[in-house]
């Protein structure tokens, strides 16, 4: 109970976010209107995805350094949960885009960047599924993961400097940290980010334990 305090925190935060996010008053903005509430759900998805992919990167680094399969499990499972949050981020984002931009998908830097990132990590999953031998799979996957992660970071820093974007926070469009995120919204947004990251980590630890049990069964 004491060790799992953060799970309780996560539950309370998300309970609060869902109710407050849907009920509390939001500033009425031109075009955005009530869809501004999507901020509470869409943006934390990406934060969670990035957090999980960073865990995965860390796991891959540690694996290459030590050769311990424990770290390979960490890298794999956090990547899989990260993909889940990435897909959720895409879905919430394109739903929002349908109502504000008029289309589910536009040719936009941020959208393309997120699609590429997802493709990379899906390729990571395919690579893992394709290789049978355990040590080899772990090594190939770790090398790919590190290479891909660094390239993605470069891409994310590079792209916005090259192109204009429709997305909030780019090309003169207001971001959520400027005037349109008033005090009330912050009260929901920050707990939402924390809550969803905790949720992602929670799913990740559960999956990690399941995988460890599975591995133990097959080796004994």
């Amino acid at each position: 109970m004491v060790r799992n305090w953060w799970k309780i925190v996560c539950g309370i935060l998300l309970f609060y976010v869902i109710i407050a996010g849907l009920v509390l008053e939001v500033p009425a903005r031109f075009v955005l209107n009530e869809t501004i509430r999507n901020l509470y759900f869409h943006v934390p998805m990406w934060f969670t995805m990035v957090a999980l992919f960073s865990v995965s990167f860390y796991g891959s680094l540690r694996f290459l350094r030590s050769g311990d399969l424990k770290y390979d499990r960490i890298a794999a499972e956090s990547a899989f949960v990260g993909i889940l949050f990435g897909i959720l981020g895409l879905l919430t984002g394109s739903l929002w885009a349908k109502y504000t931009w008029g289309a589910f998908w536009t040719n936009d830097v941020k959208l393309n960047g997120s699609a590429i990132t997802l493709l990379v990590f899906l390729a990571y999953a395919v690579l893992r599924g394709n290789t049978q031998e355990e040590q080899k799979r772990a090594r190939l996957a770790a090398v790919y993961n590190i290479f891909a992660f660094v390239m993605m970071v470069v891409l994310i820093f590079l792209l916005p400097r090259m192109y204009d974007s429709l997305h909030p926070g780019n090309g003169g469009n207001p971001a959520f940290n400027q005037y349109d995120l008033d005090g009330n919204m912050r009260l929901v947004f920050y707990p939402a980010v924390l809550g969803f990251i905790l949720l992602g980590l929670w799913i990740f630890t559960l999956k990690l334990r399941i995988r460890k049990l599975n591995d133990d069964i097959t080796t004994h």
Binding site: L119, L127, R139, M151
Partner: protein
């Protein structure tokens, strides 16, 4: 490093099929693109189709560099060469091959579709760091894919998303050359592409030794 590079070069020159196959691949895909457009391409489409063709030809060309090595040769390299030298040798070879492929694609493409590029020599200059980036990504990915056993599909799946940073900057550069802008306008992109290439090469230099042990 030099010996691996030279070996690749010699073995390719010796078996005329492999390099001839690559060239034929370029020619036939350029011709298909020409037929689909009936020779009346918008300049933008021209650059786009050109890069798609170059990309696929590059993947095809570098495919052989890891998959055609016999088992005996691999063991020989494993004992004789340092892994860093091995990956650098492969990268340099792939780089030259892809540069050659892209130049040939440029020539045949201009021959069939006309050439809307205003700054032709700059366009060719911009192809070089683009080819280097593709070569760096492809060499490491081909190494991974060949270890994993399941060849071409996996190579495409692994490398295509990673090409995108290189491709985006290259496309931007090509568009600038097409519109006739001077080098000064493109220098920013040119040097960031070179920086990206260096990162990719450095990463594969650091990571390849972990793939080396069978």
């Amino acid at each position: 490093m030099l010996s691996i590079f030279l070996h690749e070069l010699k073995s390719d020159l010796r078996s005329k099929y492999s390099i001839g196959g690559v060239l034929l691949y370029v020619l036939s895909s350029v011709y298909v693109a020409y037929l689909s457009q009936k020779g009346s391409m918008e300049p933008q489409t021209w650059v786009g189709v050109f890069w798609v063709l170059t990309l696929f030809s590059a993947v095809n060309a570098s495919l052989k560099s890891f998959f055609s090595d016999s088992r005996g040769l691999r063991i020989y390299y494993f004992n004789m060469a340092r892994p860093e030298a091995f990956i650098l040798g492969k990268t340099i070879y792939n780089f030259l091959l892809i540069t050659l492929v892209s130049f040939i694609a440029f020539a045949t493409f201009s021959f069939l579709n006309g050439n809307p590029i205003l700054q032709k020599s700059l366009f060719l200059l911009y192809l070089i760091p683009g080819a280097l980036g593709l070569a760096a990504v492809l060499s490491l990915m081909a190494a991974i894919a060949s270890k994993s056993g399941n060849s071409f599909t996996l190579l495409a799946i692994l490398s295509f998303p990673l090409f995108i940073p290189v491709l985006l900057i290259s496309l931007k550069l090509s568009m600038l050359a097409m519109n006739g802008l001077e080098f000064a306008a493109a220098a920013k992109y040119f040097f960031s592409l070179i920086a990206l290439d260096s990162i990719a090469i450095l990463l594969s230099y650091l990571l390849f030794p972990y793939l080396w042990k069978e």
